[in-house]
């Protein structure tokens, strides 16, 4: 497969995952604002910005509505939902002949919908966010059922899960202070809502309840989002899936120089597979989450050195 094609598929997938994550985070927090009164708006939305990696040029100006609209529609903000969808579609356009017609239709019509003039005022914000999430879920389903699960699809998997792993790590980090350091800051009686909000931000509430019942505690939540083996938005699941895709790519492309990448991803996978929650709680949680994010970044750049951005000398030597 052409390196450029792998690059485009990887980013198409990452951008869509990012758009979906942002949409859900906004939707959950808009929804929670309806219920609670005591968690200050400022606290909530600053936490959302942290969970999104503090997007450049976005400030909290004491206006939740303006902030959510910026994060949804502002085309000058690279990480806004509309921008992510435009970027994903642009990437897919570069590999139009590699993806299925069904995939292209789904993504192209989402693009046409969100770039329609007047979309900001055309529908309720929550309606817009729901529409985006639904369309991206459909796209993922179409991808899995209409595209050959060959190398291209594996790069889509890598993009999706590396993005998801980083996003979940950042989300946990953003909640860290409220859940473990200063739980007293959350007004009495609001803990449940906050914790539910965290779970729902990772579509994890129902799945969590099936394992632990509706008994929400910070340590169990951390355990679930970090270490659960079966839940698709947990870090462990994301890293397992990423590693699985990377192994398939290594097989397909016959790279024997992939040892370094295999080791990096395997180390992260081992950390999540063989740690207990007590091990993690004994350490500095923020440092552990930072470490995971840093490892994701290293894996990303190693993928690039190996498959996409390699020098001609190394390629001819190998």
């Amino acid at each position: 497969m052409l390196s450029r094609v792998a690059d485009s598929l990887y980013w198409m997938s990452r951008y869509l995952e990012r758009a979906e994550h942002t949409a859900r985070l906004l939707d959950v927090n808009l929804n929670l604002m309806l219920d609670e009164s005591s968690t200050s708006s400022e606290h909530r939305w600053l936490r959302v910005l942290t969970a999104l990696g503090k997007p450049r040029d976005v400030e909290w100006n004491d206006d939740a509505d303006a902030l959510t609209r910026t994060l949804s529609f502002d085309t000058s903000i690279k990480s806004s939902i509309v921008c992510c969808i435009v970027s994903a579609r642009e990437n897919s356009r570069h590999v139009r002949e590699q993806i299925s017609t069904e995939q292209w239709h789904r993504l192209n019509s989402l693009y046409l919908q969100v770039t329609k003039p007047g979309i900001e005022n055309g529908m309720e914000l929550t309606e817009f966010l729901q529409m985006v999430m639904e369309a991206i879920h459909q796209f993922q389903g179409i991808t899995d059922s209409t595209m050959s699960h060959g190398e291209g699809w594996q790069f889509i998997q890598v993009g999706r899960f590396i993005e998801r792993a980083s996003a979940t790590a950042m989300l946990l980090e953003a909640y860290h202070d409220d859940l473990w350091v200063h739980p007293e800051k959350i007004p009495e009686g609001n803990e449940y809502l906050e914790w539910m909000g965290l779970l729902r931000s990772a579509t994890a509430f129902e799945a969590y309840c099936k394992v632990y019942t509706a008994d929400l505690t910070p340590n169990q939540i951390l355990e679930f989002l970090l270490l659960d083996e079966q839940f698709p938005h947990s870090l462990r699941f994301a890293i397992d899936s990423m590693q699985c895709a990377l192994e398939a790519i290594q097989r397909d492309s016959g790279k024997n120089r992939a040892d370094g990448l295999h080791r990096l991803a395997g180390r992260l996978q081992a950390l999540l597979s063989f740690s207990s929650i007590d091990d993690i709680l004994r350490q500095d949680i923020v440092a552990a989450l930072h470490n995971i994010q840093a490892q994701c970044r290293t894996i990303h750049s190693t993928i690039y050195e190996l498959y996409i951005d390699y020098s001609i000398q190394t390629a001819l030597a190998g």
Binding site: S3, A6, R93, S253, I312, A315, G318
Partner: protein, 488 residues
Amino acid sequence: MPQKQSMQSPRMATNNYLLDHAYDEMFLDEGELHSHYELLFGHFSALPADELQRRKQAADLSFLNQGITFTVYGRQEGTEKIFPYDLLPRIITAAEWEKVEHGLMQRITALNLFLKDIYNEGRILQDGIVPREIVYSCRQYRRQMVGLQVPRNIYIAICGTDLIRLENGEFVVLEDNLRVPSGVSYMLTNRRVMKRIFPQLFRSYNVRPIEQYTQLLLGTLRSLAPEGRPEPNIVLLSPGVFNSAYFEHAYLARQMGIELVEGRDLVVHDNVVYMRTTSGLRRVDVIYRRVDDDFIDPLAYRPDSMLGVAGLFNAYRAGNVSLANAFGTGVADDKALYAYVPDIIRYYLTEEPVLKNVETYLMTRPSERQHTLANLDKLVVKAVGESGGYGMLIGPQSTAAQREEFAARIEADPRNYIAQPTISFSRAPCLIGDSLEPRHVDLRPYVLYGDRVTVVPGGLTRVALQRGSLVVNSSQGGGSKDTWVLSQ
């Protein structure tokens, strides 16, 4: 053949249908049809207006959903447009096609011999059939190609020739496109849509298939592979997603099952071309390039090109990679050289040209220039290096100021201009709103030259959708029709 076809139905409004000296593809005369159009006209007349509109919308939607668009340059937003599509097919009889096919095969054969000659011995120049200065002053002449051995001596492997019909119904050549002709994907998708929208009508005609084109194209490219490469790796080189024909590049690559590459995907090392893949560098043997000569290798041609591959020309020279079409074919579709093509055919093949040229005045010949300058209001003036309907003066539709401007330009650089009589080329009925109106059409059939010469029975019929307009180019508001070549 029935002499008079009764106008069966008043539903299809044809009252404003203009019939004059121009050849009409459907009507012989008022109320009188060419016999091969009778079934078609009957079918369309029997359809209620709203049903027609419904099918028209279905066709448009089908194009939009398939992303069959082209890019219009120079605008920020809305740069992707669908290529307007007319529902009524254009029909060509078996006898008419036979002549067209023969003529095109003759022409591509002669032009290939011509290119081989001028880049090698130059016999035709020594014999004074084509003046040296016409060849050497052409901007598309590539000195680098002199003495270079081209695989199987095929310079033009893929061409699309523009034909028009004169008032007497005869097909003549308006222009040869020997560099990177486009539009073949529209020919193929038009047919697919047409079959879906009018299956019964399609079945009732014996239309020759065109779907084999991509396979023939692949075979042609394979036949050009360098020696010793029995399983050649063939790629399509595109300028990228911002090119107006990107849809076509992606479509053809997908249909042929070959990689669609851009300049940045290719690297040249020790005169061998490789593409960057996830499993390392993979050797490339044949490049179907859709990038112009000027942009293809920044070392050999324009140093500012971002689309090309540095070192590609040397790899080509070394015989390690084949290109279709070869470099320097543009010299043979120069509009001034065009006037010599009939002589070129006679010179190499000792045959009379089957398809005639349009009468052409060369501005380098003083008497023809004088005649042109005196009759600018009646003639069409074209810049020799331009295409896409740019750089043209259509005399009868021009203003005095425009004519003055062109006169000055011709005086300043006569080599750069030619003139032709304004030809009212044929019109075909088009569905405009609810009624049928005639619009000018041309025909671009596609010719392939590999193991043998093949002309796919059909082509792209382009339509000048503006009433009275003679410009069919998509960049200037043109549309297209499906083209049916009958097998009997």
